[in-house]
Symmetry: C2
Amino acid sequence: MTDQKIILTGDRPTGKLHLGHYVGSLAARVELQHIHRQYVMLADVQALTDHAHEPEKIRQSVLEVALDYLAVGIDPKKTTIFIQSLIPALAELTLYYLNLVTWNRLKHNPTVKLEIQQKGYGENVPAGFMIYPISQAADITAFKAELVPVGDDQIPMIEQTVEVVRKFNRQYNCSVLVEPEAIISTIARLPGTDGKAKMSKSLGNAIFLSDSADEVSKKVKSMYTDPGHLRVEDPGKVEGNPVFTYLDAFGTDKAKIIELKAHYQKGGLGDSVVKKYLLEVLQAFLDPIRQRREQFAKDPKAVMHMLFKGSEVASAVAHQTLIEVRDAMGINYHK
Amino acid sequence: MTDQKIILTGDRPTGKLHLGHYVGSLAARVELQHIHRQYVMLADVQALTDHAHEPEKIRQSVLEVALDYLAVGIDPKKTTIFIQSLIPALAELTLYYLNLVTWNRLKHNPTVKLEIQQKGYGENVPAGFMIYPISQAADITAFKAELVPVGDDQIPMIEQTVEVVRKFNRQYNCSVLVEPEAIISTIARLPGTDGKAKMSKSLGNAIFLSDSADEVSKKVKSMYTDPGHLRVEDPGKVEGNPVFTYLDAFGTDKAKIIELKAHYQKGGLGDSVVKKYLLEVLQAFLDPIRQRREQFAKDPKAVMHMLFKGSEVASAVAHQTLIEVRDAMGINYHK
């Protein structure tokens, strides 16, 4: 425990979590909570930056995502799970940091630029969306997070936070803020059931952790495979075939998977047979998650209570940082 | 008292207040506090948007400006005087409102555009400065202010707030936020002692409410007058002559001022004579202010305590608005 570090991570609550989230972040969180001091944030304030028109979706998703967390084994005794909007210090830190960053710098954040393009915002991008990297800097520094797990597309966000930390500490001649380091996920992104590069709710190609056995069955049956694999006897491709990617990610019988791949590549193995096996694998993986989720879902008040308790803990930590920030700036009027 | 309205006004605490502030806003506040429910904000968070490098100046100015308020007769029993940074709800409201405003809209705020030009920021304008109109919208709406006294250069700021109010109420189908109305000052701006259009600390042409009798005397003696009035017997100009503008603003013996003006215009009245009279007038005006200020300055802790009490009252009001805002958005998790 000597090398225990502080980790901040989280999700924008804009829908239930799926297998892509599990592979990309949830699995790691379940491990990391045993090694480090982990905070997981339900980033509702950040979700509002591009969902201001549908706050009810965010509200519902807070509970759903919390259920997903508990179902996969994120343990509130080990991980502090909290709701961003219940931590007022984060908004205050954001405003102080915004004075240390130029308008020009925000405009040139590569991640935000790409997202603006993808969302088709153009000049009508909400101002809140443009400044969300600074809101993230507030989140990360409030907890003095040393490690932040990110995808490689999110590296510019960590760079922005590091800039804020350096500017603040230099400007106010202090060492209050801590530079975070990115933990860059080495795991390849899980493709969608349609074979597209990314599993995503908005693309309609996701298998959710909360999907029923029937829903999973339907989704697996209609999965994209090798479009050149027309007849059973044809040789089929394994690369870029999501059925095999999922088997690699969730199957435990590695020998059997190697055998299936060889057979498929040689020809003589029908998609339906491989899909039937994938379905078994996924149900075996999802069954216990689904059961735990149903159990927790019976008492949503208890789940919210857990989030409120986590938010109290997180709020105290963030408030302490805010006090130190104000001390460093010298606007601590009570002192 | 039936037509009592809520007023929000205030100052960026970046230095002591001067005669220009008195004429432009303080005098009105002393009157308005008897008619309306007045909040006066020491806008330290806003001051940081362009003074992030000198927070100690802001900190000191909070006390100095509070002393100026008390000295001119703003009464904490009638007016709630508070410190912006002690009201966390304002930062939270700012972040929520930023999602309802486009980046493009912020860029085209005429007041901010002009200020950027004046300050020579160019592309390096701090992001916090660009968004300060939304921070102001948070200040105004947090107190449900119906009236906001402004100079005519500040009208675009009130328009921006009205836009936020309408957008919020429409977006969340509610009537939580209140549209403010500008009270536009009809009083001409007080020129500087150098005859420039505006009295301003940064131009070094200000007479401060806290200046000693000696300082006032020196400043009046070196005041700009009519540059064409070379010899006593020459006719002199009264228009654009700050000595007469100050007499109009602070003199009580209107008949005498009319007489002096006529004499000056005709010729035969020396600048030193008029200045001597102006000095009498200013000392008569400033003496009681100076005395009250010195009295209050003996106990700075009591002044800060008054600000803390005011901030508690203000914080409760702003927090109540934040609760209503969250209710309207439906992200009131505790309900």
